[in-house]
Symmetry: C2
């Protein structure tokens, strides 16, 4: 059975594994991400890949798929991921191909997550699907009729910038309106505490101000999701990311708000689900990128 290498290059850690064409994972490695520039990144990936292959005990891999925490340009082969390489666009594809001596396919983490869920997760076999990650930021991986919505400059899906409140606030300029109102840090900000987890814990223990902070966050989450429903008419929206782990506080309420705002027929047709693959969505999407590449 054909095997590939999957690489989830995150802002803080690197995960590699061998994945077969049925999605079975073996030889998993995980390390804190090197921050010493592109060559350090590539060196670290090569080490992890060798380790994964040795652990998995496979003779041969057909190629490697990798996701980056930022932007990847298909046209130039360059990647942009400020957590790893500052504001430079780096020639990741060329360097990685050279170092690994394998076919390499790269895409963004958002793209990887939606590809993973369509392959093996909540949206198996569907073609109109959005993966929405809500954690320290907000971003979307979008499939329209089976194809990724990349945008002309490969930055499509930057939905954290959705304008949802006609009263502009200063913080919107930094991270976008939807992200400011709905991501984890925004929820923490409503109560002047350090983390969204504190707000979630307080709400569960009955704290009224925490509950209304979550209600306000849910209001904006529902509005932004409604906008995705109206414009894409998707079969499914999959929620992932740290904040969505508090499923009971978010899933039902978000869906109710969404139905209030979205185009009514599209609102009936869509299903809102939590990620089934969790932290592995991106890794499996990376494997899928490599397998698709190998099929070509």
């Amino acid at each position: 059975m054909p095997c590939v290498i999957a690489i989830d290059l995150g802002g803080t850690k690197v995960t590699t594994a061998v994945v077969d064409s049925d999605g079975r994972v073996s030889g998993r490695t995980k390390r804190p991400a090197e921050r010493g520039g592109l060559s350090a990144t590539v060196e670290q990936i090569a080490t992890s890949v060798r380790e994964s292959i040795a652990q998995a005990g496979v003779g041969e891999v057909r190629g490697a798929g990798l996701i980056v925490p930022g932007i990847f340009s298909k046209k130039t082969g360059q990647a942009w991921a400020p957590n790893l390489w500052g504001h430079d666009h780096v020639p990741l594809l060329t360097e990685l191909r050279k170092k690994l001596a394998l076919p390499v396919a790269i895409d963004s983490d958002r793209a990887g997550c939606v590809l993973g869920e369509v392959w093996l997760g909540a949206a198996r076999g569907l073609k109109d699907v959005i993966f929405l990650a809500v954690g320290t930021g907000i971003g979307a991986g979008i499939l329209s009729d089976g194809r990724l919505v990349r945008g002309a400059g490969d930055i499509g899906g930057a939905v954290g910038w959705f304008a949802l409140n006609p009263v502009h606030r200063e913080i919107y300029t930094q991270v976008g309106c939807w992200e400011a109102e709905s991501a984890g840090p925004g929820l923490a900000r409503r109560l002047n505490v350090a983390s969204a987890e504190e707000v979630v814990a307080a709400a569960r223990s009955g704290d009224a101000s925490a509950q209304s902070a979550i209600e306000e966050t849910v209001r904006y989450l529902g509005m932004g999701i409604a906008n995705l429903v109206s414009v894409f008419n998707p079969e499914m929206i999959i929620l992932g990311g740290g904040l969505m782990q508090a499923r009971d506080l978010f899933l039902g309420p978000i869906e109710r708000v969404m139905r209030k705002w979205a185009q009514p027929v599209a609102a009936q047709q869509v299903r809102i689900e939590l990620t089934q693959l969790g932290e592995d969505a991106g890794l499996l999407g990376a494997a899928r990128l490599a397998l698709q590449g190998a099929e070509v």
Copy 2:
């Protein structure tokens, strides 16, 4: 040179013409649309088509392309256009093929407009383009990497339902938040007058309340357009529809508001333009549908 029949089936009128593969139009006819059900529509179209072919003096046409003021399902071949046929889904494709004895391609008017502009108008040769019609309603025809964003149920692009104001108003339930705040009737409503044209005329003659009504409409137009920019990262957004004819009052101000909200890199990459084809955008898009069909 291959010729096709283009049919712009509107909510109030039917336009037909012969169009060649360079986009030259001849034999144009225009009639008020029949409201007597599908068979009356098909009968009227057949009459207009015969007239167009006779007027244009062409021997042969390769096929017909038609746009509908509503929804067309590729899967079922059925159309839904409440202004013409109430709330029924009608078997337009089958009936029209039978009557015209030609290959027929159908799509929505929004799809037709963006295809027309990409073929012969403001967005020639581009692949990531949005046509936004702002008139009595708001709707978008969206091309992502050269392909129409249809949605799972063929109702993608229903952007009039964008949620842009966390304070929900009753009217949003009927037409959607963005449409209520930004289409022509919404602008008229701000001053309790009968039409958007009155508000535009008053603003031009220096009326301060008319000017602030337009400012408020522009604020919402800019926000919604910003959302399209952030999620699609398009090369161009083309504005059409009745309201956008007051170019001086809208184009620059909308662009300024858009830049305040949209993802900053995507905001730099996009161009906002007015339609170059005006009322012919849809008709030429219909021709394009037929020509593409004929190529297959």
